[in-house]
């Protein structure tokens, strides 16, 4: 159905996101989160958005993930932390996650968005100059406030 590169990047992103939450050691979770963000950057590249992909890598993987690793280094959690998590909360959390996935997914498919964007791949990609133009003319106040 979808091309194999998309499936590979999707498996990488979702898999490392799950590992980031479930890994026993916090530092492995932080590294898995960084790899998940790299996977998202890969998605941006698949969507013909190289500018956003490079921005994502520079900011998220380069700054945010490194900040998180520094914090994990400074905070030392005891080994008996992981035994305090109870099963009922985890079961309720998994049920909630499945309900959210099913309901949002059903909403997606019922809304008929499946066939609407027929020219998804053949449409023109966005030039990064267009983004720059938008940034400096229309979104200039937001940019100044953000700075």
């Amino acid at each position: 159905m979808a091309d194999p590169i998309f499936i590979a990047v999707a498996v990488l992103t979702v898999g490392t996101a799950i590992i980031a939450l479930e890994a026993r050691e916090l530092i492995y979770g932080a590294i898995a989160l960084a790899i998940s963000m790299l996977g998202i950057a890969g998605f941006f590249l698949l969507l013909d958005a190289p500018f956003v992909a490079m921005f994502q890598i520079a900011v998220y993987v380069g700054a945010v993930a490194v900040l998180i690793i520094f914090t994990v280094m400074l905070v030392r959690t005891q080994a008996l932390f992981t035994t305090k998590e109870d099963k009922k909360r985890k079961g309720a959390g998994i049920a909630l996650m499945l309900i959210i996935m099913a309901s949002l997914g059903a909403l997606l498919f019922v809304s008929g968005i499946n066939g609407q964007f027929g020219n998804f791949d053949s449409a023109e990609a966005i030039d990064f100059r267009e983004i720059g133009e938008l940034m400096l003319t229309y979104y200039a106040p937001a940019l100044i406030i953000l700075g």
Partner: protein, 100 residues
Amino acid sequence: MSELVDFLIVSVVLIAIGIYGLVVKRNAIRMLFSIEIIANAANLTLVAFARGLPNAQGQTFALFSIAIAAAEVAVGLGLIIVAYRLYKEIDVAEFRSMRG
């Protein structure tokens, strides 16, 4: 070739994983991971629609969102470090000095 709906499905799965982490986990840093996963999924949705329409505003919004999320992570990590200094723990169930 991959359709728009494939990217949206991945985004929905990531949002669900993030919400699961936010609900179940008691470690403050893992909750921060979950917030980051949710923000990344939202950015993915933005850029996917920007490709589908095609509209440059989606990508611009995603750039702003990335920058703001980075600032928010910095603030969150500062809070976690201060809380660790105070309580010697990062289990959010232990942050109870304001409890009546």
